[in-house]
């Protein structure tokens, strides 16, 4: 009896506090914590540029939302999950941060998901790539914005097969990530009527790709798929260039390549490379206008990850404006209800598994002759519809979808 009484009191207190939270901004300020890699491998893809993107989103919103000021704090997680978990926890406990943004590297995103779940905060993931973030590892308030490995692998695979690239050879990084990438692409290539002629596994990380590239060349496959990332991809592309793979008629498909990688490689080396992009600055007037502003601040054109941070933060702020509260559950519900419509995504849909579904682009790197100016690197070969890139919601293994 006493238990029941206590229980009822508890429920009513909870209901009251929930009601109170509905109508206001906690602590009178909306704070966004950008956790990113400022100095390591991903500092070009994400890094300081994502902090700039978040600041731009806040400025464009007018600096206040629902009458409360918006603040941004940032930190370098050095690609270490424990540093990220520590910082996120500290922000949540002592600095009243309401949402964590960016979170490049999957181990970091997963660690912050755990913190976000416990503290009931929102995680706006842009840089981390792994699909499990919206599958087995999903949380209700973890939103995956820019891309994922499924979109990159399956999107690239099916789009290239449709463009006629029906025989493949893989250069695969010899660990779980590379293998799963190869498996995903193989499935979709074969489903599209293509054939996989073989694969070479290379150690991770590797610097000398010549023997692997020669095997790929000898296979006679039309497409050489790079199931690796970062430095490995760059080294493989350089080796392929030295052996004249592309000029001899084979094509290279990078499964995890970013605009900043193309910039680092140069068009001479990277020309003819096929890649899937979540965003490209030179798509239309809107993207050009925003990217120009970004360029003026940072001296670089934005990557998809950076544009994605702007988009996710803006959408988050719009949901707060619409509901008048920063209560996590209310805001997430509103974010799902509203379509994502900005320069980054047209009619993007935020699904219940946390995936933001939007169109992706299969692009080819221009040759130096085709390029008309600095940062004019890509031509869009095909628009990959969001549903095709990310798969239907029924495929997601997220338990809370």
């Amino acid at each position: 009896m006493k238990f029941l009484k206590n229980f009822m009191v508890g429920v009513s207190v909870l209901a009251l506090s929930a009601g109170a939270a509905q109508a206001e901004i906690s602590d009178g300020v909306v704070k966004i914590g950008v956790l990113t890699d400022m100095s390591g491998t991903y500092s070009d893809v994400a890094g300081p540029g994502t902090v700039t993107a978040a600041e731009m989103a806040i400025e464009d919103f007018g600096g206040t939302v629902a009458g409360a000021p918006i603040e941004v704090v940032s930190a370098d997680h050095q690609n270490k999950a424990d540093v990220a978990a520590n910082k996120a926890r500290e922000w949540g406990d002592t600095q009243q941060v309401d949402a964590f943004a960016e979170l490049v590297t999957t181990s970091v995103a997963m660690a912050v998901f755990e913190v976000a779940k416990q503290q009931n905060k929102i995680a706006l993931v842009s840089g981390a790539a792994s699909s499990p973030l919206t599958n087995d590892a999903c949380i209700p308030s973890g939103l995956h914005w820019t891309y994922n490995t499924r979109a990159l692998a399956v999107g690239t695979g099916s789009a290239i097969v449709k463009e006629g690239g029906d025989s493949w050879y893989f250069l695969t990084a010899d660990y779980a990530f590379g293998e799963s990438l190869q498996r995903d692409v193989t499935a979709v290539v074969e489903a599209g009527g293509g054939k996989v002629l073989g694969a070479s596994k290379h150690p991770f990380p590797a610097s000398d790709f010549s023997s692997f590239v020669l095997q790929a060349q000898a296979s006679g496959a039309k497409i050489i798929g790079l199931a690796n990332a970062g430095g490995d991809t760059i080294n493989a592309i350089k080796a392929a260039n030295e052996f004249g793979i592309v000029s001899a008629g084979q094509k290279i498909a990078g499964l995890l390549v970013f605009l900043s990688d193309v910039h680092a490689l140069g068009l001479e080396t990277a020309q003819g490379l096929l890649m899937t992009a979540s965003f490209y600055w030179d798509l239309n007037d809107e993207t050009r206008a925003w990217s120009q502003r970004f360029y003026e601040r940072t001296g670089k054109m934005p990557t998809g990850v950076q544009a994605g941070v702007y988009s996710s933060v803006t959408h988050y702020l719009k949901a707060i404006e619409a509901t008048g509260t920063d209560d996590t559950d209310t805001v997430v519900a509103k974010m799902r209800e509203m379509p994502v419509d900005d320069f980054f995504a047209q009619n993007g849909v935020l699904r219940s598994d946390g995936r933001m579904v939007h169109d992706m682009y299969l692009a080819e790197v221009k040759s130096p002759e085709e390029s008309t100016g600095p940062w004019d690197y890509l031509k869009i070969v095909r628009v990959i519809p969001g549903e095709e890139a990310y798969g239907p919601l029924s495929e997601s293994t997220c338990p809370t979808k």
């Binding site: 100095s39 370098d76 424990d82 910082k87 997963m110 660990y175």
Partner: protein
Amino acid sequence: MKKYLAYALLLTLLLVAPLLFYPVLLMKVLCFALFASAFNLILGYGGLLSFGHAAFFGGAAYVTGHAIKVWGLPTELGILTGTAAAMVLGLLVGVLAIRRQGIYFAMITLALAQMVYFVFIRSGFTGGENGLQGIPRGTFLGLVDLSNDRAMYYFVLGVCLLGFGVIARAVHSPFGQVLRAIRDNEPRATSLGYNIDRYKLLAFVISATIAGLAGATKSVVFQLASLTDAHWHMSGEVVLMTLLGGLGTIFGPAVGASLIVTLQNTLSSGPLGAWVTVIMGLIFIICVLAFRKGIVGELQAALRKSFN
């Protein structure tokens, strides 16, 4: 008498610290202090530079995480399992490595640690690149809920004090004396009739076990174990902590570890965010060039001088 007063003061400080500082950061400091102290036992007192201690630290973290998350062991038993795993690993590595000295010893430990790292990146139970995430903190003896940061802090403090106790006991025992004798003059220790290999191996295993205890505790604090813990960068970082604090001093490594961890944490969110690694490098250079005995080592030397 004065000594006990100082210890009592230190203990009081440690007990009230979570009221003044953020407990999660303090727990991280404690774990790394224990790790560096364990490393100091073998480098500072045994004169053996191991470049593979990350394998014990990270290995214990993974085993603990797996034991608690998948096997469902209670927190204390999980930590013990991880520590035991580090001990076994330490024994295996130690048997092979202590046959050589100096740079060869360092290279053997590094090579074996890299092999362990490779196993972690390839095997399924570690989660590969993504790490082992979402390890539940559980309860202490089924009574105290450890998801509360304060409660967790006192639990970690207890574990670490236990670890420090073992190290201090080892250093101040006859065993520690022999270890120092071996460090200073190995042939002489042999001629005195000591079986030096056995002493070195025991020191190595104790050091690996306590490094494992630190890693196991850290995985429970952060609820994750990742490749960072087992990477050779971690082996390097612990060398930096030990040298900065003071090689072969009881408190030096703990001081070095607190300094490095606090710096990493404060710098990461400031305007110097992108410069953390550069600053760490500079500190290391300054330390090696200007005060080779480390912070505590230099302080002790200064104190001794002022008494003379």
